[in-house]
Structure formats: C-alpha cells, structure tokens
Point group: C2
Chain length 198, copies 2
Amino acid sequence: MQERLERRTNRDRSEAMRALLIETARKLFAEKTYAETGTPEIVAAAGVTRGALYHHFADKEALFRAVAEHEAATVAAEIERAAPDGLGPREALLAGSQAYLEAMRAPGRTRLLLLDGPAVLGRAGMDEIDGRHGNRTLREGLAIAMRAGAMQRLPLAALTSQLAAAFDRAALAVDAGSAMADQMEVVTALIDGLMLDA
Amino acid sequence: MQERLERRTNRDRSEAMRALLIETARKLFAEKTYAETGTPEIVAAAGVTRGALYHHFADKEALFRAVAEHEAATVAAEIERAAPDGLGPREALLAGSQAYLEAMRAPGRTRLLLLDGPAVLGRAGMDEIDGRHGNRTLREGLAIAMRAGAMQRLPLAALTSQLAAAFDRAALAVDAGSAMADQMEVVTALIDGLMLDA
DNA sequence: CAATAAACATACACTCTGCATGTAGATTCA
DNA sequence: TGAATCTACATGCAGAGTGTATGTTTATTG
C-alpha cells in the first residue's frame, strides 16, 4: 500500500526495491533453508515479481550474499553497541564473545550465517564477508592482546579463525538448546588458556 | 561391465547397488556441491537409472546422509589407524588432532563433511553422525584427560563441540591453502591452554 | 511351477531457475 | 518541453531437477 505515487527518482526506487527484497529474503531465509526458499516465494511475499529480483541481483546466490552481508553487519553493530571500551585485553575479548553469542540468538540467524552461508558462498566467501565485519574486531582484539604481552604469540589468522569457529559452534549449540552458561564457561577457558599468567 | 550374470540373491543385489550409489555419489559430492550434483548425473555415472536410487533411498537427502555417514566412518578409521596408544592424555589429543587434519586433506572431504553436511542435514544431523564416529573419540579423550587431573574440569559436551569446531575450521583453512604448521600451532596452544600445569 | 514380492526402469507432473522479451516510468538533451 | 533513450520492473518461455506412479524383470515362497 503506497500512500502516494508521486514522482520518485530511479535511485530511490532501486534502493527501496533492493532493501525490500533483502529484508523479505532475510525473513524467509531465517525461517526456512536457502534451498527450501524459492524465488517465487520471496517475490510473492514482497509483493513484486521475479523480474525485479533478477534486475537487481545476478541470481539467487547474489541475493543471498547481500542478505548475509546485511546480517553480518547487523551482528557486528549489535556487538559494538554492547561493548564498553576501556577494558583490558582479556575482558574485552570475553565481553565481545558474550555479545556475539547474545547477538546470534536472533531466530534463524545461526542457520543463515553459520550453516547456509558457508555452504552457499563457500568458506572463503563467508570469510570475506565477516572479515569486513565481526571477525575484524576479534582479529584486532587478539592482536592487541598479543602486542600487550597478555597473550601468547601465535599465527594471527589461524588463531582468529579457530576461535571464531569455536564461538560459532557455541552459538549453534545455544540455538539447539544448550545452556549459555556452559558454552561461555568453555569460551572463557579457551581464552584464558591463551593468556600469559602475569 | 559385469563378468557373469549368474543368479544373484536379492540381498546381494541391494547391497551392491547401495554401495555403488553411495560411492558414485561420494565421488561427485566431493567434486561439486550437493546442490550442483543432480540425481540424473549420479545415476548416469553409476550406469543405472533414478529408479534404482529412489528404490533404495527416500530422497536425495537420504542418499547424502548415507554418503556423509560413510565418509565420517572413513575419517574415524584413518584417525584410529594413525593413533598409537599408550600415550598420555595430552599427547593422545594432539596426535588425534594431527591425524584428523591429515585425514581431512582428502579432496572434497571438507566441503562434504564441513560445509554441505551441516547445511543439508542440519547441525543436529551432523552431530548425530560424527557423534557415532570421530567426535566420540575426542569426547572420550577429553573425559580421560579431565579424570586424570591433567585438564581443567569443564562441561564435556560444550568443550567437545567447540574444540571440534576449531579443528574443523583448521581443516578448512588447510584446504584453502593455509600452512598446516600454523594451524597445528594454534590447535596445540588451545589444548595446552586447557591443561593443568602439573 | 504358480503366486507374490522385491529390484529396478520408464514415464509423468510439478516446481524452480535463469533469460528473453515487453512495457511503464525516469532521465537526457536538443 | 518533448522526443529519444535508458532504467526499473513485469510477463512469458525454455531447460533442468525432484519425487512419484506405473510398468517390467528377477528373485522368493509355498
């Protein structure tokens, strides 16, 4: 229901349509699987046709990529918002991990970002996406901790990805009903294990 | 090319056909994605028709499950074969981790078990599969280490899954070209971090 | 050896994806 | 400002894939 059909600029139309499609697809991809969600269903829910979709996105995978990108940015923003700065390296890492697990409790988010994402876009594709968002923060946090002499010196890329993987699995476990406290206890132990006892 | 078409029992026919389909599908699922591999291609490569496939498996997903099961068992067997026993808890864990990373270097295995697997069968589905194979060994190794007083006491399920996730990501990284030494260095650090300094 | 069931092949209906073509609205420029 | 052009989107079509229903052959049962 548009209230007014006044003259709209092409740029506005495009942005609005892209946003509408991404948001509608996000909702559906969060409810069902990527494979189970057809483009006819997406455009029907958005009230447009597949012509609009394929005009703005090369294919279904490109739409999914845009959705994943948006969702990763949202998660990063939620973490940033919940992260008080002025903390020491260890506390900053723990606060960030906790915030990540909280952010990933949004319905369907784990499947979208942690199951379908890697399968559809590949590990490299997902790395590229959340290397620009969430993981960047983690990587920097680890680098800072190492430079401050609070943490063991280890290959940064490998450490970042393996820790991120542990957090991801923790988020999936919480989503599957595991107690958040249990998961955070292990996350804390992993991080503390890397710290150098001052 | 069958050499002889002698009278075969139904049980033999079924087992042979199931094995043929699983092996053929495994090969294709290792080369391409689950989504990219159609059932017509699978049965063509096996020299049979889709009728055979749908007689033995409820659907394409069921075939994939059988393939994943088989592949997980293979990995577990390779690890077991490379694991000398008589090691201390820490050394056993490290040897197992190393063997896992080696086993996962088989072409396409990471995508099959670590990308498509979770997406197609769900995390729960994959957990159920490798809870019967690889992860069982890890869980027991951790339990032993904790009982022996060599490792911190932590929630076993959470610790197992998070460590396994780190190993999985390490395997994916190696597959993507990362240095095995870097990944093993981090794996070692994570495990050592959990050990209690005697 | 007739009857039945299992193993597999063939054929069909349905759905999805991607593209090609058509149309309305926006932008450019004389 | 209005014709030409381009962008945004809709409609229609071709190819492919999945699952099922039905047909045929081979094994099993009594």
